[in-house]
């Protein structure tokens, strides 16, 4: 049996476990710094210290999630005897052959390795948060563009609906939307069917409005979008993919749909506001006077010029989604008891805070650093995009 590790020893060993992450980070930074002048807004992140720190933090967690299988020291679900609530750096009581000899960040209330669970938790979050934010953006943009551009009854109706959702306290919505009972009624599937169609609609209109003047190209692009889009749609929303490639666990679908549902109105509001501002520009009028259709103007004349604030909001919103996912885990909604996601780990750990704080504090700091990274990144982007 090995000795318990000192704090220094723990840090060194954690750093060693994270080696693939460090390598990936160095490569990313070296390449980006090299070519930053040619990389547009992305390259400009590296002009701002705040942006760089943020980007570094975010990429740290992204790479951690990607390389999680190599980084973890123990199976995140394995319960080893005698390791319950044990302090960080403690050696295994009865190490099996070839097993990593320590619990680097201690054990939790079920004697599982906190470090490995934290690493796998990153994967849980990054599996859902960015994808859910992307879908929320597609929904928000597809509704916000016509509401802002065309105005009128359409705007009044969609704005009223989005205000309805925004007036709901998020927690209440989660308690109503993410429950085993609601899965029985099929409401999540209906929501998924509505929300997931937006990306397909968005891309179809995007290409159609641009290429309708050259039908050959239009048919190609729109065709690709429709085939892949509807294929994925059938799998993700209805779990009816004939080839079985696309599917989503009903639990996860429930969580995913609720998070998208909560985020979309916020995106809608921002897009609508930006469109109302940009539509008064002369280049929009120029588009109108040469007879462009409204969707071309919305998607190709207005949207690209709203990208700065939207990218910033995208970063912030991934952070917000991460917090929401944590909230869901914290209340035990939509997660299985053994899930290593940070929210539920904090929830289980908090009951024993007085005697063993580490099982809750470790994922707490992990979550905080990821969200902080996203916020800093957004700040850096905002600063740089305003310098034009």
């Amino acid at each position: 049996m090995e000795d318990a590790l000192s704090w220094g020893g723990i840090l060194v060993r954690i750093a060693a476990q994270l080696l693939p992450v460090w390598i990936a980070l160095i490569v990313t930074f070296a390449l980006s710094m090299q070519f930053r002048r040619r990389l547009g807004l992305y390259g400009r992140i590296f002009d701002s210290p705040v942006g760089m720190i943020g980007f570094g933090l975010v990429m740290f967690w992204v790479f951690t999630a990607i390389f999680a299988d190599w980084i973890i020291t123990h199976d995140p679900l394995a319960q080893l005897s005698g390791m319950k609530n044990i302090l960080p750096g403690s050696p295994l009581k009865a190490p099996a052959e070839g097993a990593y000899p320590w619990y680097l960040l201690g054990g939790d209330h079920l004697a599982r390795d906190v470090f490995s669970r934290m690493v796998m938790g990153a994967r849980e979050v990054l599996k859902i948060a960015p994808a859910a934010t992307v879908v929320a953006f597609m929904v928000g943009i597809t509704l916000g563009l016509p509401a802002g551009y065309l105005g009128g009854k359409l705007d009044t109706t969609i704005s009223f609906l989005s205000n309805l959702v925004l007036a709901f306290p998020v927690i209440l919505l989660f308690y109503l939307l993410v429950t085993p009972e609601i899965r029985v009624t099929g409401i999540p599937t209906v929501l998924a069917a509505i929300l997931f169609i937006f990306p397909v609609v968005f891309l179809t209109i995007l290409f159609n409005s641009r290429f309708f003047t050259t039908p050959a190209k239009r048919n190609l692009y729109v065709g690709i979008v429709l085939v892949i889009g509807l294929w994925a749609y059938s799998g993700l929303a209805f779990n009816a993919d004939p080839l079985g490639v696309w599917s989503m666990d009903p639990n996860m679908l429930n969580v995913f749909v609720s998070v998208v549902f909560v985020n979309s109105p916020g995106v809608f509001r921002i897009v609508r506001g930006m469109v109302m501002d940009i539509k008064t520009r002369d280049y929009v009028a120029a588009g109108q006077t040469r007879g462009e259709g409204p969707w071309y103007i919305m998607l190709w004349e207005i949207l690209p010029n709203a990208r700065g604030p939207l990218i910033v909001d995208f970063c912030l919103r991934i952070g917000y989604t991460t917090i929401l996912l944590g909230t869901l885990g914290f209340f035990g909604l939509g997660v299985t008891p053994e899930s290593p996601d940070w929210g539920s780990t904090i929830n289980y750990g908090r009951r024993l805070l007085a005697i063993a704080p580490h099982p809750a504090v470790v994922p707490a700091f992990a979550l905080m650093s990821l969200v902080l990274g996203l916020n800093l990144l957004a700040d850096g982007l905002r600063e740089e995009s305003m310098k034009d």
Partner: protein, 695 residues
């Protein structure tokens, strides 16, 4: 206040070899180099130059308000003998507002939206003279009356947004005068205002300067205004003063090539698009970090001598026989300044062809809610009233008017972005008045195109120049393949005299004039026959204006295009248009050939407009007509004749008819139309507003 005695015969402001730089993360950008000028007591000094020449920077340097990145890197600014560049923040504070005051370009932005006018005015004497609140408000009321604002008691209790633009600027002037400063700095004080309102402000400034004996530093890009207001002037180019002297001397005996080029590029009376075209200054304004060696103007100068002008930095030289007249030109003594400009190409007058556009009794009404909170009774805004006119092939028809006159609404209706309330628009025998743009066929759309006002807004910032032109070609069904369209796009760039390499540039890499050229190329992509140009050059610098105007004329000649030229600038209208239509509050008040409109009999509004436009020519003598008040709101137009509230001839119409009835359109000799109640004999007695003194 002044602790050091100051001799009034010495200059009030003495700027000596001033250099200012802005510091960015990457480099130091020199904004002003080696700038000197002197302002004597009671003198009005004009600073003239194009945007980016550093004139506003000089003004802010005098105020020592250059922001975080700006720094004075050399030289001195002496105010009443005390060097401002070495003063502490606290000493400066006592001078700002009390001895030097400033008036800004945008009055709305310069006033605190959440403070009452009176409080903002009273603050000044309360800070500087320690005046009591009551006394300060009393003074504020008196000064408000001094700047000729009606009902001062109401105004000092109002918030800025409750006043019109002209009134706000008067308040800003009042604020500057609250503590009777010795020096007044005016930074483009009238640029944001309408011409007729501008005239009133200019009058006020001149009177007050005389009344209080204030010295003035008057910054403007408008040579005509400077002639009007200033005693002396200093012409700036790319961060340097290039010529300075008495206004009359510089205007008539300029001794710097840039000054000369500037005067030749602005449309003065007598210029004509066919026989005496403007001479544009070739090339572009140098960017601050790309200034040439030696003379900054060298690369654009027609007197440039290789090896001399670009050999060393050029100092200011005294012009002999001049009164404090200096020039930054090595060769000013060698150049024969009296040679007329090498006449570019004169051209034949374009032949006017058949009628292509015919409007008959066009009306456009909007209904708007009366209060900001919705609800209330709906009101009808009559944006266009009974527009009737024709435009022919190859003709330039100018539409003249100030803000709210309905010219932009008219453009929208014509383009199909809005539909007319009633009336007819015939375009090539096709009835389009109620066909919105979505319903028009590609042919109609491509025949009728538009050039927009704001060059910084006219191109989509996130698409390359080439892509934007190609998109227009795609929409207009031009060509069968991408290659064909690409080739055509390059031809269009040639047409507007831009290098073909610009196809891959993003709009932000282009200057204002270049963007405007792209806008023109895009409008002509589908071979437009009728082009609506909505103030296409008003946002450009004067030297660029000439080039862009020239280009438009050129293309018009080639394509026999009908040009509807919307503008508020009568100088340029006189220069390029064949016929003129003057609009006021949605009504066409006068229409006729250019000669008819620019000579009596006038509509009273046209008369005032002509008088208000500043002309940069010392030979011109103008009749001074300053209109009272502001343009009424289109939501709440006056009853009867729309112009009756400001008309100086109103008393000559019997029976108060002007207040009761909208005047009928009267056709005078030669198809000249005027919408006015004035009897024929009064119209006949009108004097010309502008007279050119015999040389």
């Amino acid at each position: 206040m002044t602790d050091t005695p100051w001799d009034p015969s010495k200059p009030i402001l003495e700027i000596d070899n001033l250099s200012i730089s802005f510091f960015t993360r990457l480099r130091e950008i020199p904004a002003v180099m080696d700038f000197s000028c002197t302002v004597m007591a009671g003198e009005a000094m004009g600073l003239v130059g194009e945007s980016g020449c550093g004139k506003s920077t000089v003004a802010l340097a005098v105020m020592r308000d250059l922001g975080k990145n700006g720094r004075i890197t050399g030289g001195s600014i002496k105010f009443k003998g005390r060097d401002l560049t070495h003063m502490t923040e606290e000493e400066l504070r006592h001078i700002r507002g009390s001895e030097i005051a400033m008036i800004y370009q945008e009055p709305m932005a310069s006033l605190n939206p959440a403070m009452k006018i009176g409080a903002q005015l009273a603050e000044v004497p309360m800070i500087h003279q320690g005046m009591s609140k009551d006394a300060a408000w009393k003074l504020a009321r008196q000064i408000v009356a001094d700047v000729r604002l009606p009902d001062p008691d109401r105004i000092i209790n109002a918030y800025p947004h409750q006043l019109s633009g002209g009134q706000q600027q008067r308040i800003v002037i009042a604020m500057a005068l609250m503590s009777k400063p010795a020096l007044l700095i005016l930074d483009e004080p009238t640029t944001a205002l309408d011409v007729t309102v501008e005239a009133g402000i200019v009058d006020l400034v001149k009177d007050l300067g005389r009344k209080y004996g204030t010295s003035m530093l008057f910054i403007s890009h408008n040579l005509g205004l400077v002639l009007d207001v200033c005693d002396r002037l200093c012409v700036m180019y790319s961060g340097e003063a290039v010529e300075t002297g008495n206004v009359g001397e510089v205007f008539d005996k300029m001794r710097h090539p840039y000054t000369q080029a500037l005067f030749r590029s602005i449309p003065l009376p007598g210029a004509d698009k066919n026989s005496r075209p403007l001479v544009a200054i070739p090339g572009n304004f140098p960017l601050p970090h790309e200034r040439p060696q030696g003379c900054n103007f060298g690369p654009r100068c027609s007197y440039f001598v290789e090896g001399r002008c670009n050999a060393q930095d050029i100092p200011m030289f005294d012009v002999p026989d001049g009164h404090r007249h200096e020039s930054r030109c090595l060769r000013f003594a060698e150049i024969d300044w009296s040679t007329p400009p090498a006449v570019a190409k004169t051209t034949e007058k374009t032949e006017i062809g058949r009628v292509v556009l015919k409007l008959d009794d066009l009306k456009k009404y909007y209904s708007v809610g009366s209060s900001a909170f919705g609800g209330g009774t709906k009101k009808v805004v009559k944006a266009n009233e009974t527009l009737t006119f024709e435009a022919r092939e190859g003709e330039t028809l100018a539409i003249v008017g100030e803000s709210g006159c309905g010219k932009s609404t008219f453009a929208k209706v014509l383009m199909g972005l809005e539909t007319a309330t009633s009336g007819q628009i015939m375009l090539f025998d096709e009835n389009v008045q109620s066909t919105p743009i979505q319903m028009r066929d590609t042919g109609t759309i491509s025949k009728l195109q538009m050039v927009f006002q704001n060059p910084f807004d006219t191109l989509n910032p996130s698409m390359t120049v080439g892509r934007q032109i190609i998109r227009a070609l795609e929409i207009f069904d031009y060509g069968n393949s991408d290659e064909e369209r690409h080739a055509r796009m390059l031809e269009l760039l040639d047409l507007v005299k831009l290098p073909r390499a610009f196809a891959d540039r993003m709009p932000r890499q282009l200057s204002g004039g270049q963007k405007q050229r792209v806008g023109i190329a895009r409008a002509f992509a589908g071979g437009a026959k009728v082009v609506v140009a909505d103030e296409p050059v008003s946002a450009l610098d004067v030297s660029v204006q000439a080039a862009v105007t020239d280009l438009l004329m050129d293309i018009q000649r080639k394509n026999k295009t009908t040009l509807l030229f919307i503008s508020h600038d009568l100088s340029i209208v006189r220069y390029l248009s064949d016929r003129v239509m003057v609009m006021y509050l949605g009504h066409v008040v006068e229409m006729g050939t250019t000669d008819q409109v620019f000579s009596p009999p006038y509509h009273p509004y046209t008369e005032a407009l002509l008088s208000a436009v500043p002309i940069a020519d010392t030979r011109v003598q103008k009749q001074r007509i300053v209109l009272e008040g502001d343009i009424p709101s289109a939501v709440n137009p006056p009853p009867g004749c729309p112009f009756q509230t400001r008309c100086r001839w109103k008393s000559r119409v019997a029976g108060g008819l002007c207040e009761k009835e909208v005047p009928p359109v009267r056709t005078l000799d030669g198809g000249h139309q005027i919408k006015c109640h004035l009897p024929d004999e009064v119209l006949a007695s009108m004097e010309p507003v502008i007279k050119i003194a015999a040389e």
